[in-house]
Symmetry: C2
Subunit: 264 residues, 2 copies
Amino acid sequence: MSKLNGDLEVLVEPSVEEAVKALRRGFSQGRLLLVIGPCTVDYEGRARSTLSLGERVIICKPDGSFMVHRPTGYEPVNWNPPGALASVYVEDGSLKLVSIRKRPPEKLVVNLSRVYLVASLKLEDSGVFALHASEEEMRRAVLIKPELIEEGFKPMEAERAIDGLEGYADLVGEDVEGNLVVVEFKRVTAGREAVLQLKQYVDALSSRTSRRVRGILAAPSVTKEGLRLLEQLGFKFVRLDPQVCYQLIKSASVKPSTGLLDYL
Amino acid sequence: MSKLNGDLEVLVEPSVEEAVKALRRGFSQGRLLLVIGPCTVDYEGRARSTLSLGERVIICKPDGSFMVHRPTGYEPVNWNPPGALASVYVEDGSLKLVSIRKRPPEKLVVNLSRVYLVASLKLEDSGVFALHASEEEMRRAVLIKPELIEEGFKPMEAERAIDGLEGYADLVGEDVEGNLVVVEFKRVTAGREAVLQLKQYVDALSSRTSRRVRGILAAPSVTKEGLRLLEQLGFKFVRLDPQVCYQLIKSASVKPSTGLLDYL
DNA sequence: CGTGCCAGGTGCCCT
DNA sequence: AGGGCACTTGGCACG
């Protein structure tokens, strides 16, 4: 099936009036809009910002997402997330692009004196995005092969509240001696903050049981200060690589008939 | 000064060969490139991801930033930050856009069977971006008007390390009774995590002095659990709005001759 | 370069 | 809606 011309409208160096017409048509048809040209930007909401004159790329998506991109940087310099409402009008011969978010109240105004390019596109994207080697997969890998944590470790509860309050533990289980074990996963180098988080869960669980509660931090690496705090609290560090966990899950799911047993 | 046509090259429905030529020329000239069309995306690096066929917008900036945008969502579905290196080639009749980051090693491959649009732009942007109502401005406002924290509060050290280790306190000072006070600022609603951070600084400072050390959390609001933990630790919550702090700083800097004295 | 921490963080999931 | 937390977080400042 070939893409028709009606799905792609491009205006090069349009007048402000031509641009506003194309953009309004685009908004009403749920199109993704690209506007390129010299502009100033004002933002007021949770914070405030001003951006003086320069050439930028503005993207308005049909879901309300609104982004102003400078020629450098990964992040948009100004934006509104999905759910915002965009509009366009002419004032003093300039094109004004306005994006308004209801809550929290945020207003973005882009002022273009000239327009280099307007592109209006009806894009279809029902593609499936799959992400691997996440923290969640580390947890799943340990459920499949508990000795990744330590010999004799038995997972009990996966995630969920320790008792409805005070945060959530990534994983709770028992060690070979019957002690309770709280495991905190990090997919990147763990620092002091991760250890403090673990301590919170251990303390919360300790206050609800007479059994000994151990803390284990599972991550690809720890910072020096993180390790220091860990040892000071009597907790343990277990090296665990998210990529290795992903490979394990992959192998396990590829041969579902025997996969699970291989690791039990 | 008028923008010349040479600074804006647009190809509508180009062949894969035409597209690759325009893109290579664009890369070598430090241009911002927009590519639109149906594609699949594969990512491998700190994590991994796949994205099946759909129509997307790809942005390559001259600083190496690389983004793949779906028709919905504020964030790019795949990306590389500035410093990455992009290249383009043809394989099996498809256009391949590759972005490689050295460290951490990350590789992004976009595979386009067709190209709806290529735009190549030389954008100039020397505009100044100014952000207000940040956490830093909250701190500066308190330095100008310490009673925002409490009557008799005297700021001492301008944040930085408590003693070279264990994180940084936002602000340290003395209260009217001569006790040490650690202030933690949050520009949004503060939760348990903010309180734990404050506790760290208070404990670290306590261990280095015989004086009493108080903890104060300054934020526009606190979560219920945050407040609970705060009271449990004997710390204090002070309501402080970043927007109000910004107004204060603005007034103070507008009349520099008398501004400071007005608040002392 | 590692370590720590803010961000107009955003997004996801939970009560 | 509020709360807790991961994120390919990115970005900056500092030892």
